[in-house]
Symmetry: C2
Amino acid sequence: MSERLIVIGGGGAGTAASTIAKRANPDMRVAVFSEFPDIAYSPCGIPYAHGREIPEFQNLFLSTVQRYVEDGLEMNMETTVTDIDLDRRTVTARNKHEGFDKLILCTGFHWEQPAVPGANLEGLHYVKDIRRAIEFDKELDSMKRAVIIGGMWLGVEMAGALARRGLEVQFIDEGPWLLSELVDPDVAEPAQEALEKLGVNVRMGTKLLGFAGGPDGRVRAVSTSAGELECDVAVICLHKLPNTSLASSIGLSLGTTGAVVVDDHMRTSAPGVWAAGDVIEVPHGLSMLPISGLTGSHAYSQGRVAGANAAGENRTYDPVWIPWGFMSGDYTIGGFSIGETLAEAMGIPYVVAKGVGVSRARYFPGAARTHVKLIAEPGTLRLIGAQLHGGEGIKERCDFLAFVGKRGATLEDLAWMENIYSPPIGALYEPIQIAAQNGLAEQKARQREAVPA
Amino acid sequence: MSERLIVIGGGGAGTAASTIAKRANPDMRVAVFSEFPDIAYSPCGIPYAHGREIPEFQNLFLSTVQRYVEDGLEMNMETTVTDIDLDRRTVTARNKHEGFDKLILCTGFHWEQPAVPGANLEGLHYVKDIRRAIEFDKELDSMKRAVIIGGMWLGVEMAGALARRGLEVQFIDEGPWLLSELVDPDVAEPAQEALEKLGVNVRMGTKLLGFAGGPDGRVRAVSTSAGELECDVAVICLHKLPNTSLASSIGLSLGTTGAVVVDDHMRTSAPGVWAAGDVIEVPHGLSMLPISGLTGSHAYSQGRVAGANAAGENRTYDPVWIPWGFMSGDYTIGGFSIGETLAEAMGIPYVVAKGVGVSRARYFPGAARTHVKLIAEPGTLRLIGAQLHGGEGIKERCDFLAFVGKRGATLEDLAWMENIYSPPIGALYEPIQIAAQNGLAEQKARQREAVPA
């Protein structure tokens, strides 16, 4: 009988792993186990459905379980794997033993819960499962005030969405500025202004102390270092933590981030067991330090690699340079790898190249300022990070910069890049080019100063 | 006395060369000679001002002659250089001799005139000088019918602009499809549809036979292989031809394209004489064959290199990979280097990788299909060209592809590129990635077929 692959988890990594494995080796029997009833929907779209920018939650469903079955996969939905036996090569689900030859763990993440009093009250909402989101969306109709416990970008997206929905929104975050773990203050500033423009009350440097409940056991206020904030709901958007209980139960090595350690083939420490997605950590391309809790597109790519390898291919996954980008209100910010703040924190020496360009010819309607900050290695001036904000094309530029940063591009390369100048779509100078040119000019000026007269 | 640099020409190359030379060597005396009264305006914006997408021609002026004077340049406007004496190191303008130590020729281009009867009639319009454009714009108010003699992208822009302006527009071109010298038929098709959507009557495969004049000596019809087309104006948008008369007069080497030959420092064949912009030819990065008549951003970059070197720096200009992009009606097309048609014509072996993605999450309002075709070298699968159409971010993607194509990126690299997935700005799969993945899958399938069973 042909080999059987079991994939645990039906999120981005799990669906990619199972699909690619079946495609690479059609003879392999591939079974997916998911504790949820749905497959192939977009969790990233949830805030936008709450904000009514996407008209219906149904739009977020991209495929059906039936389609996967038709593609030859065995789909075990709402079926939680409770145990794995590596010696017998079985998993236990619904008290049944299911044999496998190969196993891919894509058990994903759960949200960090705040360690404060009242964290178990009703009315604390976490954005994850789409069915819960659909229920929550109905509840929102009768809600007036929301407090977002910020930190990561989901908080920014949810704050914008609930403000668009018409709620009074308070956004609290302990950091000195918005998204201070990721973005630099100069990028955080316009992002915060954009939230405020939607009516969000942004309270930075504000510590969460606890939640106060009403007689019905539901949250009625959030207590913070800035006082008590009354609310109908508190949305918690802290860190993603890897779901490692199954992994731990079979003794897989966990890393410094607490996530499962894999090699560049997505192999765990146990033979015949791969892992992918939010449950694993992978090395950052610049520092080679492990990181976890990346994006949906990372989960998909890792799933593809794990699936291909479990099916007998030989596919490697490179260290990540993490292009990122999202909208804060109506304003786009993005980047890749590190900014100044993270470089400082990690003790990585750097120089900065900054510039402001426009997204179309400056006289063309719709042209918007695009701010580019490039982070480069001193001396070689190799690109090691970037942060951008404003205008159009942030996503495309950050993808570009991550790709060429990974491959050793320098400020010199970027300063002399060829670019499209066509008034409705691009300006005479590409904003990246302007930043790089400015950076080179500054380096040259410094070298001159450094030479004794 | 300090060295004097004379720059002939006040277009993109000339303004960049003079500005950069002065900045690099403030002691140098830098003089610009231009036959026109204006400096630093955007000729590329002219069609959009005719189409009223840009409300006023004044918006196209980016700076004034006075500003250049304040920056220390000697500006000789409306001053045509009629002669150059390389031995005496003088140019003649307004019957005066002006001495120089170094010279940069940025004499630009003129439009190819059709070699047919009636080509000297009044009412044949060429898009170039902004003052003439402003007059023409007034004349347009009383015009009803225009014939665009197409060929290059300016014709497409002008056809769209005059249709938006409310004229009946006929577009004729001898080629089998729109822009057949540059774009492939699959890209030309939606571009043509977009023009037709604006009401333009596109007549491909239509040969220009001549122009018929009325008793007033103005064009009243264009005779073509498809019959006589009545018109109030004919707009000629054929090829750019280099203005080499001054260059020839001093014996500078001209190349196979008829333009001035320069080395990678923008040096001409005469010592102390540089050239930049539409008057020169430069090697194409892929074929190393010389080409001329590139874009405004190329003219600027070449001008910067020539200016820096004339001022004593040591700056090289790389062979070009030519990212290009523009709008045909409301539709964007773009690419870099070669497409299939050009590869065929040049006898360059290639494989194609094609895919269709979306510019935002597919369920997000405003998401549009983005078609990507990558052209790669067989075997190595190195990227050697691309053509894209539709959606958002075409300009940014083509800049990206030209940059990484130049540096040896392969389909494999692009298939596994990291990308931003955030519903309002980017989809789960980047369109470039989809095309590359498809291309790899096809190559793999072919290899399998090629192996005897």
